[in-house]
Symmetry: C2
Subunit: 350 residues, 2 copies
C-alpha cells in the first residue's frame, strides 16, 4: 500500500480556531459536473444608477435621501435583523425550549459612490477609506455598553445572497457573542494560556516556514489558504503583529491592509475572469469589556466558486448533516491563487 | 416598553441537540427581495432517460451497466469522497497543522426506476422499499469494523447541489464520527445521564403538549418544525419510541415512517407548488461498537426556500462568520405547513 499522501488520499484536517474537523477528498475534483450553473454578475453597470438605494442622492426604502457622499457612507439598515430596543426576556422550559431576547444594531457601509466598482477595482486610497470606516465603526459600536460583539462583513455577488451590486458591506453588532467568534475566543484562550503566544502568531510562523499555502505577503500582512480551509479558495488574512482589533493598527499597517485586500481581490477576480463572489469579514475581540489578550485579529474570505465562474461548491447533504468537506487541497488552491497576475483582468484587457 | 414577544422581537434560541444558538429576526420577513432568483426543476421528465446514469439498463461513468431494477438499486459511488483503501497516516505540527487519513465508503441509492418521480409522488409501498434499503445498508455498513458512522442523506433539487433529478440519495460511511453527529452524541449523552430519558423523548413530549410546532403526527412518528430550526421550513421527524437506529423498528413503524415521509414531502411540494428542494438525512447512533443508549434516531429536513419557488434563504456573511440566523419564526413556519392540503398539487390538478 502506498504511503499516506495529503495530495492523493482522503483525510481529515483540524481547525484549531474552531476546534472542528473537515473532510478533504483530493481525488474527487475529477468528477464531472452536470448540476446547477450559476449566473455571473457580468452586465456592465452605470457609475450612478437612479434606481439603486445605495447610490448618492437617491431615496431609500424609508424615504430618507442619501447624501452626495464621495468616499464611504454608513447608515442604519432599513431592514436590520437586530434592533436596539428589544424588550428583555427569556424562555426556558426544561432546558429544551430556550430563547433569550437579543438586541443590537445593523448598518450598511457603502464602499464607494461609484455603482460600477468593486473592491479590486478601487484605488488603494479608496480601499484605505473603507479600512478607516471599519475602524471607526468598530470603535464607536464597541464602546456602547449594549454591544458586546461587532461583526463587519461583505456579501459579494448574487450567489452569496447579495441583492444589490453597489459595492457595500454590513455590520451586525449585538449584545451576545455569536457562535463562531465565541468558539474562536475559547480556542485562542486555551492556546494562549498554554503557550504564552497567540495561536495565530504560531500558526503564521509555520506557514511562513512552509510557504506552501502562502498566497500573498507584504510588510504587515500575510494571506494564506488555511490548512483547514473549507471553501475551495478560502483565505485567511493575518496581521504579522498580534493585535486584538483594528483600532490598534498603525497608519502604515492600515495602508498595508488596504493593499492586501486589493491584491487578494484582484487575484480572486482573475482566477475565473469574473467578478468573484464571496462572503468575507473581520474577526476581532468581543467588546464586552474583558481583556481578550489571546485574540488575534484576522479576516476570512469564503468564496463559493470551485471550477469556473459558473460551477460552485455546494454545502449540502453530507456537509449539513455530517461534516464540512472539500474536493481540492488547500495547497493546490494556494498555488493557483499565487500564480495569478497582479493586474485586474478588466484593466489588462484595455 | 412592550413585553418580550417571540413572534415580534429579535431573539436567540438554543439547539439542545448541538449546543449551539440561533438568531431569530421575526420582523425581518417584511424586507423586499431584489436578489438572486432560483431556477425551478419543473421541466417534465420522461419515465426513462437514455442519458441518465441512474436509470435501469444504462451505462455508468465507469462502464458498468445498471441492472433492470424495479424497486431500489444501490451501488458504490463512481466518484466517492471516501475510499475504503486509504493508507493510514497522520500529520501533527505543533497542534496547528493536523491531518489524519480517513477511510470509508460512498454509495448511491436509487429510490425508483422511474426517472420522472420524486418521493412525494411515489406510492407508500415504494417509499417503504426505500426505508428498507436504508435499514439494510445501515445494518450492513454499520457491522463493518472499518465503519464507525453511517450517514444516509438525500440532496434534492439543483439548488441543493443535486446534479441528477432521478430520485436518489447517498450514503457516506466512514471510520470517524463526523462533527454534527459527534456533537449530538455528546449532548444526548449529557442529557440522558442527568435525566435517565432521551433528550428527544422529553422534547417530543413538550411539543405534543404545546402543539404549536407540530406539523404532522401518526401512530409512530411526529414531525415538528424544531424550536431551534435554522432553515425557513426545516423539520425534524421523530419516532415516538426511543430507538437508536432503523434496525430496531418494527414493520409497522417502518410503514408509518414511509407514510410520514410521503405526507411531509407532499406538503413541502404544495407549499410553493414546486418540486421542493432540500437536503435531508437520518441521524442514528455511531456504529463504533459502543452502546449509545442515549441516542434517539431522527430525520432532519433542511429546505432552503423562503418565500416562493424562486426565493431562498442564503446562509452567507453573518451566518458564516457569526451565527445561524432566520427571518420567520418556527411557529409561523409550522402553521403554514400544517394548513397545506394532503394531496399532491400535481395529482390535484388532474
Ligand atoms: O455527490 P454529488 O451529488 O455529486 O454532490 C453533491 O452532494 C455532496 C454531498 O453533500 C456535496 O459534497 C456536493 O458539493 C454536492 O454537489
Ligand atoms: O442583509 P441582506 O444583504 O439583505 O441579506 C443577505 O445577508 C444577510 C446576512 O448575511 C443574510 O441573512 C441574508 O440571507 C442575505 O440575503
Amino acid at each position: 500500500m502506498a504511503d499516506f499522501d495529503l495530495t492523493e488520499h482522503p483525510h481529515r484536517r483540524y481547525n484549531p480556531l474552531t476546534g472542528e474537523w473537515l473532510l478533504v477528498s483530493p481525488h474527487r475534483s475529477r468528477r464531472p459536473w452536470q448540476g446547477q450553473q450559476e449566473a455571473t454578475d457580468e452586465a456592465p453597470r452605470p457609475a450612478h444608477d437612479p434606481t439603486c438605494y445605495l447610490c448618492p442622492g437617491n431615496v431609500r426604502a424609508n424615504g430618507e435621501v442619501n447624501p452626495n457622499y464621495s468616499g464611504t457612507f454608513v447608515f442604519d439598515n432599513d431592514f436590520a435583523a437586530l434592533l436596539p430596543d428589544t424588550p428583555v426576556g427569556e424562555v426556558n422550559i426544561g432546558g429544551l425550549l430556550r430563547a433569550e431576547a437579543e438586541s443590537g444594531v445593523g448598518r450598511v457601509i457603502c464602499f464607494s459612490p461609484r455603482h460600477d466598482l468593486t473592491l479590486p477595482e478601487m484605488s488603494p486610497e479608496a480601499i484605505r477609506g473603507v479600512v478607516d470606516v471599519w475602524t471607526q465603526q468598530f470603535r464607536e459600536l464597541g464602546a456602547r455598553p449594549d454591544i458586546n460583539y461587532v461583526q463587519i462583513f461583505e456579501n459579494k455577488g448574487q450567489v452569496m445572497g447579495c441583492s444589490n451590486p453597489h459595492p457595500h458591506g454590513q455590520i451586525w453588532a449585538q449584545r451576545t457573542v455569536p457562535g463562531e467568534p465565541a468558539q474562536e475566543t475559547q480556542q485562542q484562550q486555551a492556546y494562549f494560556q498554554q503557550h504564552g503566544r497567540s495561536l495565530l502568531t504560531d500558526y503564521l510562523a509555520l506557514e511562513l516556514e512552509q510557504q506552501q499555502r502562502v498566497v500573498l505577503a507584504n510588510a504587515h500582512w500575510v494571506t494564506v489558504v488555511p490548512y483547514w480551509a473549507v471553501w475551495p479558495f478560502e483565505t485567511l488574512v493575518l496581521p504579522r503583529r498580534h493585535v486584538q482589533d483594528l483600532t490598534q493598527l498603525t497608519d502604515e499597517e492600515k495602508d498595508a491592509l488596504a493593499d492586501m485586500v486589493r491584491q487578494l481581490t484582484i487575484r480572486y477576480d482573475n482566477l475565473f475572469q469574473t467578478s468573484f463572489p464571496y462572503s468575507a469579514g473581520l474577526h476581532q475581540r468581543p467588546t464586552d469589556g474583558q481583556q481578550h489578550a489571546a485574540w488575534h485579529l484576522h479576516l476570512h474570505f469564503y468564496p463559493p466558486l470551485l471550477r469556473s465562474a459558473t460551477v460552485r461548491k455546494f454545502m449540502v447533504g453530507y456537509e449539513l448533516l455530517g461534516n464540512a468537506q472539500r474536493d481540492i487541497t488547500p495547497e493546490a488552491a494556494a498555488q493557483r491563487l499565487r500564480e495569478l497576475p497582479d493586474v485586474h483582468y478588466k484593466s489588462a484587457r484595455q
